[in-house]
Symmetry: none
Subunit: 214 residues, 2 copies
DNA sequence: ACCTGAACACCGTTCAAGT
DNA sequence: ACCTGAACACCGTTCAAGT
């Protein structure tokens, strides 16, 4: 995996090639509107290509969307801790998740973040447009976590299984931890948050016999 | 609250009424296949009703799906199922957790619940008084979950371990699922929420070898 | 108020046909 | 191998028309 690049034009000859043009068009559309749906026809039209041609390069809509996300991540995030093969797999995964969590901040920053989330996504009536905007974010996160799981699976550190569902599970745990950071509890955030994260990771890695209990 | 019922036929007169028939049809379809997509036409046909009529009772697809979930939870969870020794332990625990989740509602009710939570606990500066108020709630929930774990442990259905930490973990998952219900995603709430809940329970019961993967 | 069914504007995927 | 565009079988939503 990881064979996703936006550019690799061979010699002078012609322009970027159809595959790239499609990827570019889709990325541009996402740039203009993060909630863009990237339908076959819309992307094909934007790339100046037929739907059949698009399907030839990206046999399925899911493949297209993943490829676009991969291409964007390739541009934007050169490396992350998941590739640090010196350290054990589960430790790296926890590290990655902790990074996501850290982005939400703690204390008043966490509260501000959720205030924002509440204002934009929860308070207003959920129009179709809003739903799409949120789904775009969610899909990006989901894809990121799935990417990490994919790396571990390639190493053989993760048993075969439904990585999409595993990612959903981990994201739910992250959401739970994140909202708890914004709530006025005290609870040994330091200890119990970490235990929860570790347990969640262990539960998908199938390694530990009796997790959580410590 | 709790105004979601599958049945409440008045006197003799006619059958269940269109709204109920639709709800029943959808619930049946979910029973047959938990991954059913519940499209307008499929549900309408199954209920023996026109798409227009379906739309009259459920103005949007999202409303339909929320209503079905509410109806199912209403049917299925009348009172504390933890002591129902006829059924397997993990099933009962899932049931209890689902009940907690159901109390938060779906759709606009879920959003209202989180709006309230936001107003009272997240938005204001966390005074000591506020923290105590929240902690009281949290402790109640924690205690409830620990109670369930205690019952299962007494049966020998749960390996020895730190039930407090296990409860914390489960509450975090519930928080995550609950906030996701208030967010405008669509994501097969029906399927993936259930998978997440099952996985969370399996992970603390230490039973399954390779959970989540299905 | 409740219900019908056609119509509209979209989907994703398939495929014979071209170059 | 790559590309085209029509065709198929679906969507969710809207709406004039009936009762």
């Amino acid at each position: 995996m990881g064979d996703t690049e936006l550019e690799r034009n061979d010699v002078g000859s012609a322009g970027p090639g159809t595959r790239d043009r499609i990827l570019r068009a889709a990325a541009t559309m996402l740039g203009e509107d993060p909630a863009a749906r990237l339908s076959v026809r819309a992307v094909a039209a934007r790339a100046g290509v037929s739907t059949g041609s698009l399907r030839h390069h990206f046999p399925t809509q899911r493949v297209l969307q993943d490829a676009v996300l991969d291409a964007i991540y390739d541009l934007v995030a050169p490396e992350d801790p998941i590739r640090d093969i010196a350290r054990p797999a589960r430790e790296r995964l926890v590290q990655c998740l902790r990074q996501v969590l850290a982005a939400g901040g703690t204390g008043s920053r966490a509260r501000a973040a959720w205030r924002k989330a509440h204002e934009t996504f929860i308070a207003p009536e959920p129009t179709e447009e809003l739903r799409q905007a949120y789904l775009a974010q969610e899909r990006a996160m989901q894809h990121r976590v799935e990417h990490w799981l994919g790396v571990l699976a390639d190493e053989g550190a993760l048993p075969d299984g439904d990585n999409a569902q595993r990612a959903r599970f981990l994201l739910t745990v992250l959401n739970g931890l994140s909202i708890e950071r914004a709530l006025p509890g005290q609870t040994s955030t330091l200890v119990s948050e970490n235990a929860t994260l570790l347990h969640a990771v262990d539960s998908i890695m199938g390694g530990a016999a009796d997790p959580v209990t410590g």
